[in-house]
Amino acid sequence: MRVDGKGLIDRSQPVTFRFDGTAYRGFAGDTLASALLANDVRHVARSFKYHRPRGILTAGSEEPNALMTIGRGASADPNVRATVQELFEGLEARSQNSWPSLGFDLLSVNDLAAPFLGAGFYYKTFMWPRVFWEKVYEPFIRRAAGLGALSGEQDADHYEKAYAFCDVLVIGAGPAGLMAAWTAAQSGVRVILADEDSRMGGRLNAETLAIDGASGADWAARMVSELAAMDNVRLMPRTTVTGAHDGGTFGALERVSHHSNGVPKGGVKETFWRIVAKRSVLAAGAIERHVAFRNNDRPGVMAASAVRAYLNRFGVSPGKAVTVFANNDDAHRTAMDLQDAGVHVAAVIDSRRDAQAMGDYRLMSSAMVSDGHGRRGLEAISVRTASGVEKIATDCLAVSGGWNPTVHMTCHMNGRPTWQDDIASFVPTPGAIPGMDTAGACNGSFATAACLAEGAAAAMRSLEALGATSTEVAVPEADDSAYKIEPLWAVPGNGRAWLDFQNDVSVKDVKQAAQENFASVEHMKRYTTQGMATDQGKNSNVAALAVLADATGRGIPETGTTTFRPPYSPVALAALGAGAQGKGFAPERKTTSHAATVAAGAPMIEAGLWYRPSYYPLPDETTWRQSCDREVGWVRNTVGICDVSTLGKIDIQGPDAAQLLDFVYTNMFSTLKENRVRYGLMLREDGFVMDDGTTARLGPNHYVMTTTTAAAGQVMRHLEFVTQALRPDWDVRIMSVTEQWAQFAVAGPKARTLLNGLLDHSIDDDQWPFMSCGTVGVQGVEGRLFRISFSGEHAYEIAVPSRFGDSLFRLLVARAEALGGGAYGMEALNVLRIEKGFITHAEIDGRVTAQDIGMERMLSKKKDFIGATMARRPGLTEDGRAQLVGLKPAGAVKQLTAGAHIYSDGEEPMHEHDQGYVTSVGFSPTLGHYVGLGFVRDGLIRHGDVLNMVDHVRGIQTRVELCDPVFFDPEGGRTRG
């Protein structure tokens, strides 16, 4: 119910929302949870395992019960905690984990079967019989598992990633955080203050504590507005710092649009930040813990601090006759606040013998709540005192078992928290995160005065470490009352007393784990699933530890904690992966001929990030093979044009350029004359082939190396390594120019005819023999011409600066078409090179040596080069290795397939009889049959042998004849002629 005169909500702005189809009203400034409580909606969820009715337990991000689905369709968000969901006009929330309805849920029979479903139930039950594993158990477990459900549709909302940098990051904007940010900001350093709440101030907004005589909430609001006005301060509300990582990097999730009805056009739903901070101050506060007793999970049983938050911040009393159950002084303020607001307090039950009443209410000391009554909502509690059990009517029980400092972030880099006896909880271990100071409640200092003082002190330490000049700031006056507590974890008695509300783990389950020797805290956690739900045990970890410690006869510090890992609270994968979906994951690299190629109707294939044409179909062609065969024919008989710009191009200059090439290639390049091109083979240092390609010498100290498309990046990095790390004494510079030059192959008997008339000066065989290169004028543009061939034909590659690529491609194709040829794609390029036995990375796959591909003679004996020593080790040179061969069909089946394996005659096609494998195949229209390349054991000396090819995947089997890999024009007359 609403309470007049209380709260920071805007009562002039009513807001309408729906929960499970029913319309309700709240106010601007409400959370979904506070608005539901204001409307007396107490039963809001069903628990995960036993489907027990549950209500709102907390007022913060630690909420284990009130998980809801917000919105509809593709943009619906499951598992949103109602306690952090800001209310907006038209909000639609639905309960989860219940069927057919929240009030009547069929799976609540699990609760009746509870004696059979305790800890370790899964491990013990789903074992036998084996045949049940897939058909019975798995469907059953899958149906019952999981909280909430995704829409199954593509999430159309936009998420972003962003980076921020600062000198001091302050995490949490309660009294300690505000004071830290304020103190740091005075010195002029860059400050970021992040808080998960929409309204900064932390507990100051939820309590009636005064600072410097004013209300804490007003003080916080004033500090926030003053900080907001400073240029060196960035306020990040609605931003949860999720993790502390190496080098002062923090992850943070900003909920940008969750407080509005849908993401505004052009806006984002969430932003995942990486914040880099030189120093950080953790002021993350503390989380109130529950006490385990029978039926302590009834809707209406809440954290005492949450009851105060709903009353003081939202003007809502969760009950009409409230009881308080506590083991500390702090919780008594709940009764005081409620009474001040005119709410009836039925009793305060305190487990301590010496408990003192702070005001005029009924105090029952040395007493414990032993049971909660009312299945769908609390109606009464049983209180056990020295004189017996008394039943007290109440619709809301405010429970406090004390406070757990939020130490999570201090443990993200392998740190472990330290047990502190006087507060019966864990506190951060100093120095656990380099550069991080802790202040306030997360440090175990609960009084407001201590929070303010520690916040200022932590900021001063940060400033000192930064070497910034600090200004002494006055710490305001505030409440300094001591925090008195006597540990109480679980009320003894029969029945199920709940520890982990989200995974339905009871005191009994933890004890059973200990009994079955899952006594280590990590084992207990996994056996009972305590702390493994989306709240990661924020409400239950310490209490569960205490119960385990008790059951195993150890102390809590010896029992230890489980590992705290990022993220602090759940982060959607969409936010973590922002910017990396679809084309963000694999950007498109397009050549300069892309537009003309797409316009010609060519289907594109991906080669790494590049897009290259598969083939260029003509109108009467119905299959890719028709196009491919025709394009191969063009190159063999007239002339074809192909964009080869994707090959890596590395410009190498300097007096020691030749030495570098001699060192990275197996063969000699210092002997290469100017205006000549040479094929080169590159090894890795372990002796295996890294890459191959041609290198042209353009001037005395100027070379251009080409690499394969696939290895361009690897080769560039390799050359950088050689020049920087191995031979920094050499005077040579390298630069990738792949994208600076557009390069096209002009291949076929009419290649020169095509070029003459296009080039500013015509060329002939004398000036431009095979493997020559040089500068040419192309329609007035300075370009480069290389007489090299990847097709075995009389061919050239012509390069111009990229900005001329599109027009040159169109010109080349038009001239080729006039000669009876045209553009060709990757399919034809592949057939042409297989016909000639030229290798690609299908062959040099990282396991292949120079000897394996028949290039042993390219390993120069006159010099040292990368891979020289290891290429000659026995394992790489002895007989029995698979070697490159040509393959042609020799049986009834005329098809070859890449990936097929080769077996000896008369032997079973199985691994132990493997003789080799097929790497590349294509149908050769030139020869009228399939041609293939592959690797076969000792293949170099087995030409003429006929073996079996078996493709187990495609179900194809045939006989193949091993032959020389050069199928066409082995003398090379066409290339040179």
């Binding site: 990097t249 392998n414 990095r717 390594f721 920087q724 920094p728 040292d864």
Partner: protein
Amino acid sequence: MRLHCPICGERDRREFYYQGAAVMLERPGPDAGAAAWDDYLHLRDNTAGDLDELWSHDAGCGAWLRVTRNVSTHEIKTVVLAREIKR
């Protein structure tokens, strides 16, 4: 994790390519023998502490760096340009 590139300044580790132990800087001569080459290519100390490593600022200036890093805590001790080491 962040690395201080001597050329570009402090950058996120996503800009860097990781190679492994800086042993690769000490390339044996062609006649050093099989054992030396085996050591150079294949054998590495499994240190739980400071390790000299090679990183390349791939998405930056392309510099190869020798980074001394505590592999247990990820603390970066020193970053030196590889080209400065041989000089």
